[in-house]
Symmetry: C2
Subunit: 392 residues, 2 copies
DNA sequence: GGACCTTCTGGGAGCGCTCTCAGAGCTGTT
DNA sequence: AACAGCTCTGAGAGCGCTCCCAGAAGGTCC
C-alpha cells in the first residue's frame, strides 16, 4: 500500500524499476499520521449542542407546540407567528432530530432494501445500480430514505432481522428470493410491509398469502426473441438457459417453449449466466445438433461466450447461426463481435415500481379502511427487442 | 404493462401475433386488485404493541435499568438475573427501539453513503455494487447500517443536507467529488466526519483542511500498463484518456507521462470512458500517427471501442497494435476479441477501506484525546496488471 | 352586553431508552 | 459486633419531539 498525505506523488517516485506494490494491503491501522495532526475533533465533541425545537420556540417567543406546528407545515398558526418561527429556524440553523420524531410518530421515512447476495446475480450483473437508482428516485420523491442491507452469510439474516425488528424502517424491498428464503417470514413477523423484486422461487407453505412482486416479463421477452428468429426464417432454434433453479431462467425457457412446444430437447442446454458457461453450453449444442441455425441465450453474458465458441467453430454469425441474447447490458451487448441482438428490460422502472408499490401499501395502512386503494398486485414490466447484427 | 395475480400467464396468452406490450407502463394506480382482497392490514394497525424494555423488566421481575444492562452486554449483573432477563427477551421477542436508543446515546450505528451521480461514472460502470459490498462488509462487522443517498438534481443537495443534519447517521462516505462540490462543506457544517472515495477534484478554498480519501493507484496502474507495453518492445505507444476533468483520468495520464516524458502529444487522445468515445479517439490516433504500435486506453470500455476500430482498420491485435485497458471489468475485458490485457483495481477493498477509515474516525472521537490513534491519512490501493491476449 | 362559537396557543404528558446516583445487601476486617 | 468497602440493583431524570386538550382571544348574534 502506498500512502500519501500529499495530493499527488512526486514524479520522483517513478524510478526506472517499478516497485510493484504488493496486492495485499496492510490494515490501515498502519497508516502514517498526516504531516500535521488534525485539530482535536472539537467540531463534534461536545456535539456542539444542536439547536432544539425548544430553543427555536424560545427565540421566536412562542411555545414549543407552536414551533412544532410551523416546522411541520404551519397549519393553524397565524402568519405573524409563523414568520417569526421560520426566522428563528433559519438563524439557529435548526434541523429536527429525526430520532425524537420517530420515537413519537412511529414513522421513519425510511425503507430497507435487502439484498441476499449469494443467491442473486445482483453482484455479477450491472443491474444493481439501475435498480437502486429507480428505487431511489421514487423514494426520495416521497422524502423517504433507503437503508441498504446486504446478506452474505447465514448469520447475516439475524443481523438483518434484528435491524428490521428495531423499527428503523417502515417497509422492506426484497430481492430475488430463493426457495424458503426466511426474509418474507421475518418481515411478516415484525409487521413490515414488503415488496419483492423478481418472481419468488415458489409459493411454498409460508407464502400462501400471496406476495407482491415486480418482475420483468421474462417469458414474454423470450417469446419476442424466438419469434424474431423465426421471422428470420430460422427453424432449428436452440436455447441456452440460465440456472434452472432461478425463476427468471425458468420463465425465459417457458417463453421459448411457448413458441416451440414440439422442440427437440437436444436444442436446450443449461448455462449459468456466465460467459464461460454460455460457451460450454454452446459447444454442447453444436456437438448434439450441428445443424442448428439460431440460438437464443438467456443472458448477454452467456451469448458473448456462445459467440466466441461459434467463431472458433468457424460458424459465421448471423449468416450460419443467428444469436439473440437477453438483458441488453450495454457494455456487453453493443460490443460483442458482432453486436448482439437482445431483449431489453427496463430495470430502473422495475426499481421504481417496487418502491411505488411499497409506498402505496404504506399510505394505505394509515388511511381509512373504507375507500382505501385496493391492495397492490404484482406487476410485470414489459421487455422489448433490440436489433443489432447478430440476428438481423 | 401486464399485470397478473396468477404466478404465471397461461400459455394461452401466446397467440400467434404477439401483442407487444407498450413500453410506457401506466402508473400502478391502475393495478387490478388481487382476486381476493387482502385481509385488512391489522398486522400493523395498531402496531401490535411491540414489547418494550419495561415489559421485559416486568416479566423478568427486575427494574428497567437492569434489563437494559443485560440487553447491552449484561456487565455487572448477577448471572441469575441475567438469565431471567434473557429469557423474558426471548419469550416476548423483544427488540430494542433504535430511535429511543439513538435519542439518548446520540449514536445511530448508521453511516450515509452519498453518491452524486451525474458527475460520477458510478452508474455506467459495474463498480458500484462492488464498492457497496466492500463498504457493507466492513460496516456490518461493526454493526453499522448503510443509508444510501443519491443525488441527481441540484435540489437533491438540500434533501441530503437536511437528512445529514437530522442526525440520523454518524458519518458519511462521499463518492468522486468534483470541483467545488458542496458535500464536504455540508458534512463539515453538521459536524459529521467523512471519507471520500476517489481523489477529490482540487483542494480549492474550502478544503485547505485536507480531506481523507481512498483511491486506486491510477497513476501507478498506468505506469504498469505502459511499462508492460515497453517490455513488449513497443515504442510508439499511444493513450486514450478519460475526460480530463476527472482526477482518475488525470492520474492515469500522468502515469503514462511518467514513463514517456518526451512523448509525442499526437499520441494522446481524449475519450469519455464510453466504447464509442474510445473508438473515436482510436480513429483520430490512427489518422494522426498511422505508425503507432500500442495503445493504453484508460478504461476497458474505451479499449473495447478501440479494438473494434482497429479491427475495422485492418490492424491485427496484438501483432500490429498491442492494447492495454484499465479497470478489469470482467464482463468486458475477458470477452473482447481478443481478450484484453488490463490493469485491475481492487474496488471492493476500496470500499472496505473507506468504511474502515470512517469507523476509525468515529471511535477516535469518543475515546480519550491522549493515546487516541493518529488521525487517518488518505490511502491508495495498489493495482496490478492482468495479462490477456491483446498485449502479450 | 352577554352567551356562544371559532380560531389560536401553550402546558404537559409521554414515546422507549440510557445512565447517574443513591442505597440495599454482602463480605471481610478489626 | 460494628463498620468499611464491595458489588448489585432500581428510582428517576431526561433525550427532543408530537399531539391532546384546556383555555385565551377574538367574533358573531340576539
Amino acid at each position: 500500500m502506498i500512502e500519501r498525505s500529499e495530493q499527488q506523488p512526486s514524479a520522483a517516485n517513478t524510478g526506472g524499476t517499478l516497485a510493484r506494490p504488493t496486492h495485499e494491503a496492510p490494515p490501515p491501522s498502519e497508516a502514517r499520521p498526516a504531516s500535521e495532526a488534525r485539530p482535536t475533533h472539537e467540531a463534534r465533541r461536545p456535539p456542539e449542542a444542536r439547536p432544539t425545537l425548544e430553543s427555536v420556540a424560545e427565540r421566536a417567543g412562542v411555545s414549543r407546540a407552536t414551533a412544532s406546528r410551523v416546522v411541520n407545515g404551519g397549519a393553524g398558526v397565524r402568519e405573524a407567528l409563523r414568520e417569526k418561527v421560520r426566522q428563528a429556524v433559519d438563524e439557529l440553523g435548526y434541523a429536527p432530530n429525526l430520532a425524537a420524531r420517530t420515537l413519537v410518530t412511529r414513522r421513519n421515512q425510511a425503507i430497507a432494501v435487502v439484498v441476499a447476495e449469494p443467491e442473486s446475480r445482483i453482484f455479477s450483473d450491472p443491474f444493481f445500480a439501475q435498480h437502486l437508482r429507480g428505487i431511489s428516485r421514487e423514494l426520495s420523491a416521497a422524502d423517504n430514505q433507503m437503508v441498504l442491507l446486504m446478506i452474505e452469510e447465514q448469520r447475516d439474516y439475524d443481523r438483518v432481522g434484528r435491524y428490521l425488528a428495531g423499527g428503523h424502517v417502515d417497509g422492506v424491498l426484497l430481492f430475488s428470493l430463493h426457495r424458503s428464503d426466511p426474509l418474507p417470514h421475518i418481515a411478516r413477523r415484525v409487521g413490515l410491509p414488503f415488496v419483492v423484486g423478481g418472481r419468488p422461487g415458489w409459493s411454498g407453505a409460508e407464502s400462501d398469502r400471496e406476495l407482491v412482486y415486480v418482475d420483468s416479463d421474462n417469458r414474454g421477452g423470450a417469446r419476442l426473441a424466438v419469434q424474431h428468429l423465426r421471422e428470420l426464417g430460422r427453424s432449428r432454434i436452440a436455447t441456452i438457459t440460465g440456472p434452472l433453479d432461478q425463476t427468471s431462467s425458468i420463465d425465459r425457457l417457458d417463453g421459448y417453449r411457448d413458441l416451440l412446444p414440439d422442440g427437440d430437447p437436444e436444442l436446450i442446454a443449461e448455462g449459468d449466466f456466465t460467459p464461460d458457461g454460455g460457451g460450454r453450453a454452446m459447444a454442447a449444442l453444436l456437438a448434439r445438433r450441428p445443424d442448428l441455425d439460431a440460438v437464443f441465450a438467456a443472458s448477454d453474458s452467456m451469448a458473448s461466450g456462445a459467440l466466441r465458441v461459434l467463431r472458433e467453430a468457424g460458424r459465421r454469425v448471423p449468416q450460419d447461426v443467428a444469436v439473440v441474447g437477453f438483458d441488453d447490458v450495454e457494455s456487453v451487448a453493443a460490443w460483442t463481435e458482432p453486436p448482439l441482438t437482445t431483449v431489453r428490460q427496463d430495470i430502473e422502472e422495475m426499481g421504481r415500481l417496487m418502491a411505488r408499490l411499497l409506498l402505496r401499501q404504506l399510505s394505505g395502512e394509515s388511511g381509512p379502511a373504507v375507500g382505501r386503494p385496493a391492495a397492490p398486485t404484482s406487476v410485470i414490466i414489459p421487455t422489448r427487442l433490440v436489433e443489432r447484427d447478430s440476428a438481423r
